[in-house]
């Protein structure tokens, strides 16, 4: 019962709006079911399912905003939540950046909901875990994995006639397989809206292969290497870049998108000309919610074209201040998260390996942290499958490296790219990059 229909949600929102005494009010309802199962050491540790529904109210007097929420939807509770939000608003200081609420908007449908994901049961999760343990747990391998699924809806409306409704589902599955002597470790991760696209046995077998192939890794000298980044590894770094697609921090002079002397770098060529980055909420592989945090409809947007910065996101407040049109960000989570489509190429990972004289194949990165926000320098480590390539062939597994690298520099050192695939809600290609900076070795497996 956690998912309300559009009509049910609208009826409740209209009722709540009718209780308002504020200048402006907005109401949102979020409901859904989240399930998970976690296993480690070849046995299930935790599993659970949470159903919840929450109605939130923002009441506004002038530029004073008050918020309140409730998980009870009877009339008395709804009246109480409105009264409480209004009471808090009256006591709040003015928010000089407050923007008047939007009127009616047109939100086209996005394909974020899958009925098969919605129908996931505890038995489905237990069977998936059991299959994965059986496949990987025989012999000398140990599996640890996590599945989380969600099915739910959001609805919002305000006193100026805005209304939006969206249902969505998601499934995230990751697995680590380790050799029992602790010398090899492999990993694979997938995320989808539709659970039918998840082949957990195949994902498990990738992690198994990597665990076995990475056992007894050898040390090679850190330094600058040509690297082939599998989509998961490339996505780990490219996601850091898109967080900076924000006009305000660029205008304020505190972003890599800030121009020397003031302003933003829109119009500058920052990357290799093969780099094009767009977002498209209607892409069927990575559909996202149809509105952003400001309630603006999302639209297909080109952020970078042929290496040139084309757009940065403008919140409604910042757009008004700068005298431009607002432009919503891509993802569901502000400037981070998914929603981006990176241009790719037509080389497979096998092709990339074949053409590599000396290089390193990277499965994923780990513990990535910002070192210098001015240059977007990040540090982190390779993990769960790192291999040395020589004369077009994978020669042997290598010990993990620590890197210190900027995705901006990386996107100026592209050798080749492959077909993008879904990683963390974005479409990311495998990439071959020259002169990637590894600064030290790690003994971690």
């Amino acid at each position: 019962m956690a998912i309300l229909t559009k009509e049910e949600a609208k009826k409740i929102i209209d009722k709540v709006l009718s209780y308002s005494k504020a200048d402006e009010m907005e109401v949102s309802i979020f409901g859904g079911k989240t399930g998970n199962i976690r296993y480690a050491r070849n046995t299930v540790n935790t599993s659970g399912e949470t159903n919840e529904i929450r109605l939130s109210v923002n009441s506004v007097f002038g530029k004073k905003v008050g918020s309140s929420s409730t998980n009870e939807l009877d009339d008395a509770s709804l009246k109480k939540v409105v009264a409480r939000a209004e009471e808090i608003a009256m006591l709040a200081p003015e928010n000089p950046e407050y923007m008047p609420m939007l009127g009616p908007q047109v939100y086209p449908e996005t394909a974020t909901f899958s009925s098969s994901t919605d129908k996931i049961t505890p038995e489905f999760r237990a069977n998936l875990a059991s299959d994965s343990i059986q496949v990987s747990g025989g012999g000398n391998l140990t599996a640890a994995g996590y599945l989380e699924d969600f099915s739910g809806f959001t609805a919002m409306g305000n006193s100026k006639g805005q209304f939006g409704y969206n249902t969505s589902t998601s499934v995230d599955f990751s697995i680590t397989v380790r050799t029992s002597d602790g010398t090899g470790s492999g990993y694979a991760i997938r995320d989808f809206n539709d659970v039918n696209l998840l082949n957990s046995k195949e994902v498990t077998s990738i992690a198994m292969q990597k665990a076995q192939a990475s056992a007894n890794a050898q040390a090679i000298e850190p330094g600058k290497y040509t690297v082939i980044l599998e989509p998961t590894a490339a996505g780990d770094l490219l996601g850091l870049l898109t967080r900076g697609f924000d006009a305000r921090s660029a205008d304020e002079g505190r972003s890599y998108m800030s121009k020397k002397g003031g302003g933003t770098r829109i119009g500058e060529k920052l990357f290799d000309e093969r780099v094009t980055i767009i977002s498209d909420p209607f892409n069927t592989e990575i559909p996202t919610s149809p509105w952003d945090g400001d309630g603006l409809p999302k639209q297909k947007t080109t952020w970078v074209e042929n290496g040139v910065v084309k757009n940065l996101a403008y919140s409604r407040y910042w757009a008004e201040k700068q005298g431009v049109k607002p432009l919503s960000s891509a993802g569901g989570r502000g400037f981070g998260g998914g929603g981006y489509i990176f241009s790719g190429g037509d080389e497979s990972i096998a092709d990339m390996i074949k053409s590599t004289e000396r290089g390193v194949l990277v499965t994923r990165f780990w513990y990535i942290r910002a070192v210098d926000p001015q240059t977007l320098l990040f540090t982190g480590l390779t993990r769960d499958g790192t291999f040395y390539i020589e004369n077009g062939q994978i020669k042997f597994p290598v010990k993990n490296f620590r890197f210190n690298e900027s995705p901006i520099i990386m996107l100026n050192n592209i050798e080749a790219m492959g077909k993008p695939q879904r990683v963390g809600g974005s479409l990311i290609p495998p990439m071959k990059i020259r002169d990637f900076t590894f600064t030290s070795l790690s003994d971690a497996v």
């Binding site: 976690r38 299930v44 513990y367």
Partner: protein, 547 residues
């Protein structure tokens, strides 16, 4: 949209600083409601007994009940504006049982006799269902009940009682002071937490605890638009297990550090630190870029705490060592065979590291853990040798012990408790030594303060740490500020290069307010005490780049 996305988006409209990275689990309430008394302990005892009896009648051999009311207040500002004030409350019960030798857990916000009975029965049903996949039955270390007891964080001023206006006035004064001293941007915030936790178990414990934590913090940024540079300096405060008295900024809690400005012990002068931060952020823009190489590092407690957290705290969590976190945070280099050998040299013989949840003012300070075990102090590393781990009731048998360390924690009534890091602290040196005296003997070194960039591998060997402030030491003197500094080392090599530790007069806490672990992830708060410490010949890299 996933639940966490919804929470994040809801937060964005309300002010990004306060909520980014924080899971706001509660319902928004007014500041006055935070002061309303929660349910009476006698009523909680009645409800707990309903759960204990219901679970027992369904076949549970052990049950614990946690009735929790979690209150949070966050106030955040930016320059001259208040960005967000949020007050939230969440109240419910989590019930954990053992049935058929297997754990089961269920939670509900329906804290009524019927709701609790039904929740207890669900927990037993889950345990029985999961027992089909169980390979070996759970064995708990014995724990005699404590009867009806209470424990409260020893606060002087309940931060929830301080009017929101006073908090806003303080933060805006902080911002204004930084702007007057040359800052271009300031974000400041105050986070206050009160956990009212009631624990009952079939061992015969009924424990009522009132726990408080506070964290004032800011980020000050200076910008050179012409040259295209910007630098930030974060607050040198520590989140603490204290009340509003932490913001008294008492003279006796100020420590003049060798770089010539004040650090803070158990109370914090936020305005003074903001003025210093503005000056520092400007100075950082033009500071000399470090020449990479080997340096002797003199690490201030404001900085060293995070290094302790990452390179000692996490690798000695027994569940990590055993592989339960393999798919997420990782495992540990500190394997059981190293511990069993009895001679694994984690660090030099100067290194004595203790775990505890009893130090006053620390974030981890509680009377009892979330399994009803009385909190204590125990050795992790003694004279450089690895001697123990962090373990809870169902783990200590692996270490051949029959008493839990008392470090189980759940971040909410709706989360299941598991092993979490207690305070992990480096003991001060026993010989009289100040940080100024320590620096006098360093020929080529760097003095580092504050929490910066941090990254460590999944088994906790290789790490890289930055900081907030770096000062070059030449022939026993601080000669000026450095930038682009990060040090890389290996945990064992690093702790074995420890040559000197200042005495107890230099000891203070660093804290981590939101330490993540587990899937689904749970957040905990933990302190790390230390005195200024010297590490010799550590590899320093230059992190400057041109783009």
């Amino acid at each position: 949209m996933k639940r966490r996305d919804f929470i994040h988006l809801s937060g964005m409209g309300l002010g990004a600083l306060a909520t980014s990275g924080l899971v706001m689990m509660g319902n928004p309430v007014s500041a006055e409601q935070l002061l309303e008394p929660g349910m009476d302990p006698a009523a909680k005892k009645v409800l707990s007994d309903i759960a204990l009896n219901a679970a027992r009648s369904k076949g549970a051999t052990y049950t614990d009940v946690r009735i929790g009311r979690y209150l949070r207040q966050n106030v955040s500002t930016r320059e001259k504006n208040v960005q967000n004030i949020s007050n939230s409350e969440t109240f419910g019960v989590g019930i954990r049982v053992i049935a058929n030798g297997t754990w089961g857990f269920s939670a509900t916000s329906d804290v009524t006799p019927d709701g609790i009975k039904s929740c207890a029965e669900t927990a037993v049903a889950i345990a029985k269902a999961n027992s089909k996949l169980q390979k070996e039955p759970v064995v708990l270390a014995p724990e005699s009940g404590h009867g009806e007891v209470t424990w409260n964080t020893p606060i002087k001023k309940n931060a929830m009682e301080i009017p929101v206006k006073d908090k806003i006035d303080l933060l805006l004064k902080v911002n204004n002071s930084a702007m007057e001293n040359g800052a271009a941007f300031v974000n400041s915030a105050l986070f206050v937490i009160n956990e009212q936790k009631y624990f009952a178990s079939t061992d015969g414990s009924y424990i009522d605890q009132d726990i408080h934590r506070i964290w004032p913090t800011f980020s000050v940024t200076a910008v050179n638009k012409g040259a295209g540079g910007f630098r930030s300096r974060q607050a040198l405060s520590a989140p603490m297990g204290m009340g509003y008295e932490y913001l008294d900024g008492l003279a006796e809690d100020k420590i003049m550090n060798p770089a010539g400005f004040n650090s803070y012990r158990n109370s914090y002068d936020m305005v003074e630190d903001a003025i210093n931060a503005a000056k520092h952020s400007k100075e950082k823009i033009t500071a000399k870029s470090v020449i990479p190489g080997k340096y002797d590092l003199v690490l201030d407690p404001d900085h060293l705490g995070l290094t302790i957290h990452e390179s000692v705290g996490h690798p000695l969590e027994l569940d990590r060592v055993l592989g339960y976190e393999a798919n997420y945070a990782g495992t540990s280099f500190a394997t059981l065979d190293k511990w069993k050998s009895g001679d694994f040299k984690y660090g030099s013989d100067k290194v004595n590291i203790v775990a505890d949840k009893t130090q006053p003012f620390s974030l981890g300070n509680t009377g009892y853990d979330d399994e009803g075990v009385k909190c204590k102090e125990w050795d992790l590393i003694k004279n450089g040798i690895l001697v123990n781990y962090q373990a809870i009731r169902d783990q200590v048998k692996i270490l051949g012990e029959n008493e839990s360390n008392g470090c189980a924690f759940a971040d909410n009534w709706s989360s299941v408790q598991f092993q979490r890091m207690p305070n992990v602290s480096l003991k001060p040196g026993t010989e009289k030594l100040s940080s100024a005296e320590m620096i006098k003997n360093v020929e080529k070194g760097i003095y580092i303060l504050g929490r910066g960039s941090y990254s460590i591998d999944q088994q906790r060997y290789n790490f890289q740490f930055g900081g907030q402030l770096f000062y070059e030491i030449k022939d026993g003197e601080i000669t000026g500020m450095l930038e682009d500094v990060a040090y890389q080392s290996n945990t064992q090599e690093f702790w074995n290069s420890c040559t000197q530790i200042c005495d107890k007069d230099d000891y203070k806490f660093f804290g981590s307010f939101n330490d993540g672990k587990g899937q689904p992830s749970q957040s905990s708060a933990v302190s790390h005490g230390s005195s200024t410490t010297r590490f010799d010949g550590v590899n320093v890299i230059n992190t400057g780049r041109n783009i």
